[in-house]
Every structure is written in C-alpha cells, then in structure tokens.
C-alpha cells in the first residue's frame, strides 16, 4: 500500500530517542534548527540528519526561509499511524467473523471423516508443534 513506505519511515523515525526528544520539543512550538540543537549534546550536522529523517517520515515540516528553515510538527505521520490501526482492527474483526464460518466447515469435515485423512493432516500436525529452539 502506498502508505506503507511512509509508515515504515514513521516507525523508524520514532524508534530513536533523540528524534522523539526533538518531536517533544517541537510540540511546544515552531523553532529554528539552532535553538532545537541547544539542549542536545550532539553536533549540528547530526541534528540536521535527524531532522531529515523526521521530515521524510511526515512528522515535521520545514519552513521555506533558507536561512532559518524553522521546524514544526506535522500531523501527517501521526494520522498515518491512526489509519494503520484502523486497518489492523478491521483485519482482525473481519478475520474472526470469517474464522467462525470456516470452523463450521472444519467441524463438518471432521464429522464426515472420523479416521485421520489427508483433510485432517493439520490436526495431526499439532503433535509436531513442539518446535525446538536452537
């Protein structure tokens, strides 16, 4: 899905504590890169790299002012996550409805084949489920 790349970028961006701290600071309001860098014990180029990642993830946007390029929170990334959760909820709720119907089919198959057959191989396979961890 087209959002997937953005979503991957969003998760990757949020996985870093410095970037989350930058977002927390930006949640207080728009600010310049220099101001943003002050509380952090890392170089300005490193901050810039973090900002690029956040921008790509749709979590911040940068102003047009070539000198300042002020940064501010962008909600696109967060909305993407919200949508994704909704999709996930749908996947499970609807899958469970379908599983319920399918279990009736499985029960019927089991009833008509009391002896283990090809059809019930998966049920037999449960005995093999004790996988070994290396």
């Amino acid at each position: 899905m087209p959002e997937t790349d953005r979503l991957n970028a969003t998760f990757a961006a949020l996985a870093d504590p410095t970037r989350r701290a930058i977002l927390a600071r930006l949640a207080l309001g728009e600010t310049s890169v220099q101001k943003l860098a002050e509380p952090f014990d890392i170089s300005l180029p490193a901050i810039s790299r973090h900002l690029k990642v956040l921008e790509h993830a749709g979590l911040i946007s940068r102003g047009r002012d070539a000198q300042m390029r002020p940064c501010k929170i962008d909600t696109a990334g967060f909305i993407g996550v919200d949508h994704w959760l909704e999709e996930y909820r749908k996947l499970w709720s609807q899958s469970m409805d379908k599983l319920e119907s399918y279990l009736e089919v499985m029960k019927a198959q089991q009833a008509t084949s009391p002896a283990p057959t090809r059809k019930s191989r998966s049920v037999k396979r449960q005995g093999e489920g004790h996988g070994r961890k290396d």
Binding site: M1, T4, D5, L7, N8, F11, A12, L14, A15, P17, R20, L23, A24, A27, L28, G29, K72, I73, D74, T75, F78, I79, V81, D82, W84, L85, E86, Y88, R89, K90, L91, W92, S93, Q94, S95, M96, D97, K98, L99, E100, S101, Y102, L103, V105, M106, K107, Q110, R121, S122, V123, R125, Q126, G127, E128, G129, H130, G131, R132, K133, D134
Partner: protein
C-alpha cells in the same frame, strides 16, 4: 448490530481482542496451523490470500500476498516466534522484504472454556510504545495533533461501547 468481538483499545498503540467460538480448542488452533486453512479466513472482507511459503514452527515464516477487493496486492510476512500447541502463537507481522518493514508483535492465546468452546485473545503491540506517550503527552501544543488525538480518543470510546 452488536459486535461479537470485544476490543480493548485503551492503549492507542496496542490492540487486544477477544472472541469466543463454538468449536473445540484443537480445531480452532488447527485453523491457524495450515496455510490451506488460513487462506479460508485470513484478512478483511473481500480479501483473498496466496501463500508462497509456510513453515509453522518457531523461527519459521509465512510469506503471502493479500489480494484486495480493489485488485491491489499486498506483500505480507509473518515470522513465528513461539508456538505452544492449542495454547499460544506469538509472531511478528510485517510487510514484504522491505528494508525496515513495519512489524507488529502479536500474540494469540487459545483457551478451552468448556462445552467444546474456545476463547481466543489476540494482543498486538507496536514496536514503539513511546509513540503513545508522545501523542498523549504532547497533543495540547498543536491543534492538528490535538485533532488526531481526539479522533483516537473518540475511536477508543466508540470501540469501548460496541
């Protein structure tokens, strides 16, 4: 229409769902252990599934394509971490072979509730639970973020009522 699925979304970055089935636990578990069975029920309405690889054991993967009703295909990969027969399946679910696929750690537990009935609980958590703290703590400063959070909150409330 009353929802038969009980969903707990009190945590915006995790989903916990409960569902009871009128089938014995061995049968419900079996429906998860074979791609032939999974293809019959996996996915939202209108989706079909084509499996290219299925290895149901700890460390094994299930690679499949979900075909949407709009004709679009979605690569998926499930990696099984832990399997306890008739009790529990822990896995990670993500996209295809992306460099950094979105993965969602998921646990499905199976419980025999007597009378040939089974309860399933599935619980999924984002790799970044901190996002939840961020959204909740920082929303006040930005109107757009506030709206997003309000929508999340409304959605949670609606789910809690269903």
């Amino acid at each position: 229409m009353a929802a038969k699925t009980d969903l707990d979304l009190s945590d915006p970055v995790s989903i916990k769902g409960t569902r009871e089935f009128d089938a014995p636990v061995a049968l419900v578990f079996a429906a998860f252990t074979d791609a032939k069975h999974l293809s019959q029920w996996w996915g939202p309405n209108g989706f079909t599934t084509t499996t290219s690889h299925f290895d149901f054991r700890p460390g094994g993967t299930w690679r499949f394509v979900m075909h949407g009703p709009d004709g679009r295909d979605y690569e998926n990969r499930v990696t099984f971490d832990e399997i306890e027969v008739n009790k529990r399946i822990a896995y990670r679910h993500g996209g295809g072979d992306d460099v950094e696929p979105v993965t969602f750690a998921q646990t499905v537990t199976f419980e025999d509730i007597g009378g040939g009935r089974t309860r399933i609980v599935w619980h999924g958590v984002f790799p970044n639970a901190q996002m939840r703290d961020f959204v909740i703590k920082e929303y006040g400063a930005d109107k757009g973020l506030q709206e997003t959070t309000a929508r999340l909150a409304g959605y949670v409330a609606a789910m809690a009522r269903s």
